[in-house]
Symmetry: C2
Subunit: 138 residues, 2 copies
């Protein structure tokens, strides 16, 4: 198969597929004319990579998962550990974003958003470390 077939089959851009070869995630055969010649396995692995990436696994995690996938003697515990760690990072990211969202949503609600310059959003961003607490902590 040519790269465009694989691109169509996996949904990955040809550029990305070449990149994945560059960084050693796949190693498709070459024809005499220099064209890559993808096997069904290559295609399958690329689809695997596409799905893993869409779940947010990093390239290095994808590399590890692909190796485990190829290893018939793997333990499911190894795979689970990678996924678990990734899940925790996602949870952390969600928590961070939710905190951002809540703050931001509060500020947006507080801002009248008209022609006047008065703006709680800027006021908050500009906020000096509050006078009250610093003046009389005890």
């Amino acid at each position: 198969m040519n790269i465009s077939d694989v691109a169509a089959g996996t949904g990955l851009p040809a550029k990305t597929i070449r990149y994945y070869e560059d960084i050693g995630l796949i190693s498709p055969a070459r024809r005499d004319n220099g064209y890559r010649d993808f096997s069904d396995t290559d295609m399958h692995n690329l689809a695997f990579l596409g799905r893993a990436r869409s779940l947010g696994f990093s390239i290095e995690e994808c590399r590890a998962l692909l190796a485990l996938y190829a290893d018939r003697d793997r333990s499911s515990a190894e795979v689970r550990a990678i996924a678990q760690e990734h899940l925790q990072r996602i949870e952390a990211k969600i928590a961070g974003l939710v905190a951002m969202r809540d703050t931001l949503a509060g500020l947006i609600t507080a801002c009248h958003g008209d022609a006047r310059p008065d703006c709680p959003i800027l006021a908050d961003l500009a906020a000096e470390p509050v006078g009250g607490a610093t003046t009389d902590p005890d």
Copy 2:
């Protein structure tokens, strides 16, 4: 003030402060010896930037917000628009991550995670477009 004072005062690494100067977010004065000489305003602006960044605003949004902050004739509507747009991107990101998390959490729950190679996580990543439809499309 020297850069390390501002770093301590804002919580931003000196490297980041230099970087912000590089990209034109701030332009501190220079002393004869070449050292940057930060004013209170510089410090204030850097703190502003730090807070805006921590709310997830992009550098370009920060630049816009800083300009609006400096503009006494701004309309709060402009600020609100930037924040609103940013909020929507955050919401979208959260939604994407929550979808990832749910899928991943489901797979992790399904995986026994022991010494056996059998693993629903890999099985899902490897999933071919289901056999049923492809075998008999007509």
